[in-house]
Amino acid sequence: MVVTFLMIGVVLAAFFAILAKRLLASTIWLAVLSALSAALFYVLGAPHVAVIELSVGAGLVTVLFVFAIAVSGGEDAGGPAPIPTVVAIVFGLGMMALLAWFILPIEAPEVIGEQMSFTQMLWEGRALDVMVQLAIIFSGVVSVLGLLGENVDAMPFARRKEGDA
């Protein structure tokens, strides 16, 4: 029963996030989607991911979106969609049908591996993943610093723009 409500809520939040007119409303619906999917993770028996999703997905990412929208002034780009709406709807429904054909009904074989604890699995079984995460976070920080740096003249893109004008 709880899962039914959560499932309907997740799908509705996704649609509202896309259909919302204002960017801030869209961001808030994304946060709602994150929170509801965190609840779904908990129901599915994945409490660690639920906690991280709730703090990172619903917290950090929302703050970043609001900050970026505030910095850039946001709120423009109306006008018609780049392709006809009917085509987009048909493609969306087609993709849904394809996915449903692939994953329904869920009949994976019951494979019970040796049960490790989450900490053991993360730091020993998937140690390489943790290293890759660290590398990705580091490169993300470097690229954000490069993108938002003050030295505009050093960017090749800016020079080309001056050359055009």
Binding site: V3, T4, M7, V11, A14, F15, A17, I18, S26, T27, L30, L33, S37, L40, F41, V43, L44, A46, V49, E53, V56, G57, L64, F65, A68, S72, G74, D76, A77, G79, A81, P82, A88, F91, G92, M95, M96, L99, A100, I103, L104, P105, I106, A108, E110, I112, S117, F118, M121, G125, R126, D129, I137, G140, S143, V144, L147, L148, A158, K161
Partner: protein, 103 residues
């Protein structure tokens, strides 16, 4: 016909995924495009945890989902920085204004 819990979650995955695909095609604001990418990743995460629950490898699924969350957050941060710079330079967030090809 009764649906068990995992079938319901799979339906949610399908719904969120379909919404994301529609959004990718129909949205033209750069910020909203990043929101749509986040929605698609949420669908993938839900599918991952569902598969872990069904196959009994929930610990492994949680570990992989953690990686997905971290990478997705970094992608969102870099994409937001790019969008802010695009707005700064072109004065618009419309993806149609990004093209420089005329003709």
């Amino acid at each position: 016909m009764s649906l068990d819990m995992l079938d319901l979650v799979a339906l949610a995955v399908i719904g969120v995924f379909g919404a994301g695909i529609y959004g990718l095609l129909a949205v033209r604001n750069l910020f909203k495009m990043i929101v749509v990418l986040q929605i698609l990743v949420k669908a993938a995460l839900l599918a991952l945890v569902t598969a872990g629950n069904r196959s009994g490898e929930l610990v492994l699924a949680q570990s992989l989902a953690l990686t997905v969350i971290v990478v997705d957050t970094v992608v969102a941060v870099v994409a937001l920085a790019l969008a802010v710079q695009v707005k700064h330079r072109t004065g618009s967030l419309d993806i149609q204004d990004l093209t420089r090809l005329k003709g």
